[in-house]
Amino acid sequence: MSKDPLHHETSSQTVGPFVHIGLYPAVSGILARSRTYGNQLASTHAYGQRIRVEGQIIDGNGETVRDALLEFWQADGHGRYAHPADPQAKSADVGLSGFGRSVTDPDTGTWTLESIKPGAVGDLNQRPMAPHINLALFARGLNIHLHSRIYFDDEVKANAVDPVLQQCVPAPRRQTLIARRKETTQEPCVYRFDMVLQGKNETVFFDL
């Protein structure tokens, strides 16, 4: 290999308010013939506890963001990612699409995700990470997308030893990454995960 200087990563630009056309075409009345990604990740055959996560995104004026798009990437119910970098990829659950998208409702600002709770993911250093869903947030006014994670408040023990929560995130801000389970006796379990873009309780966003 020649010692060419590194290429620069291409610069990001905002997705703008019309993001749905490209990334969630059904919202714009477009019937895409190629595969698209929605907010239902688990087939009926997927292994794991059925969950629904829902939330809103609050801007610096306290208003709900109604034109955002969220992307999710998660492990299956056993903590396996369907990707070759995961040593367990070959046995990853084919009943689960690890990747999905949701958009905030133009009227209510609420987004929802229907999935199964991911298993604890073994890091390559064999330190388990608590169950979590990886998230990327795109919207008008975000010049580059924001990465975050959704953890679960009923995983107290796992969260207490999660290396990212405990060693990367300052203690006072950890709660911004933890979805709250709602009181309900029915399946699926419903969790609330609101994000705050500015000010008090501002959600943690990562520089990966």
Binding site: S11, Q13, F18, G22, S28, S34, M129, A136, H145, F205
Partner: protein
């Protein structure tokens, strides 16, 4: 934190994102950033298994018609506008081609109007054009879309602010950490100079890399003009991270 945190996570994955070529989150000239850009610094996170993995794509999931925006929403005639071929190559920072990665594009029609309920610009819709496209890169990292050149349009920002003609590009690469969405502009467009979104990128040469070059050689006689737009995604820290010995 008072002590250097023990590095809990594998020090592999991807080169750090070079923020000097990325736009500032808060950029007052683009007013929508004022209420939306986080005020706290991003929290550094060395990519873990969660970030060095990501969705993979299969050609079976893609209909080839979605790389032809002249056809994929056609009802009874071709869409109006300048027939335009967009081509390019997707590589990582080391120059390695990224094959079979998903590209999604979206754009306004030739009059500068989007097929979207929130777009209330007075320019007309084109019933034969949706502005949606999708493809996978080939084994050399190449892609191409046939479309019409989108028109410029005004937007609520300043007293008289216009977007240059542009096409939105969404690209995945090998992992969630390499995800990127950007916009492609057209060489020679006089609106580029004052675009507040492009201006949010601090480095002028990085800005210029978002401007697709007019490419006469790829233009098709009596058919379409061509523009070339290459994309670079973050490169791996190590060439073969999967071969690392355990525990290092």
């Amino acid at each position: 934190m008072s002590t250097e945190p023990e590095t809990p996570l594998l020090d592999s994955g991807f080169r750090r994102r070079d923020r000097s070529v990325q736009p500032r989150l808060l950029w007052p000239e683009y007013k929508s950033t004022l209420n939306r850009a986080p005020t706290q610094p991003l929290v550094p996170l060395s990519p873990t298994l969660s970030e060095i993995t990501g969705p993979t794509f299969s050609p079976q999931e893609i209909d080839l018609i979605d790389r032809d925006l002249l056809q994929n929403a056609r009802i009874d005639r071709d869409p109006l506008g300048e027939r335009t071929l967009l081509t390019g190559r997707v590589i990582d920072q080391d120059g390695t081609p990224l094959c079979a990665t998903r590209i999604e594009i979206w754009q306004a029609n030739a009059a500068g109007r989007y097929q979207h309920a929130s777009d209330n610009y007075q320019a007309p819709l084109d019933p034969n054009f949706s502005g949606y496209g999708c493809c996978l890169t080939d084994e050399l990292g190449n892609y191409e879309f046939l479309t019409i050149r989108p028109g410029p349009y005004p937007f609520a920002n300043g007293a008289n602010t216009w977007r240059p003609s542009h096409v939105h590009f969404s690209i995945f690469g090998p992992a969630f950490a390499t995800r990127l969405v950007t916009q492609m502009y057209f060489e020679g467009d006089p609106l580029i100079r004052d675009c507040p979104m492009l201006g949010s990128i601090p480095d002028r040469s990085a800005q210029s890399r978002l401007v697709a070059a007019f490419d006469m050689e790829r233009s098709r006689p009596f058919d379409c003009l061509a523009y070339r737009f290459d994309l670079v995604l973050r490169g791996p820290k190590q060439t073969h991270f999967e071969n690392r010995p355990d525990g290092l």
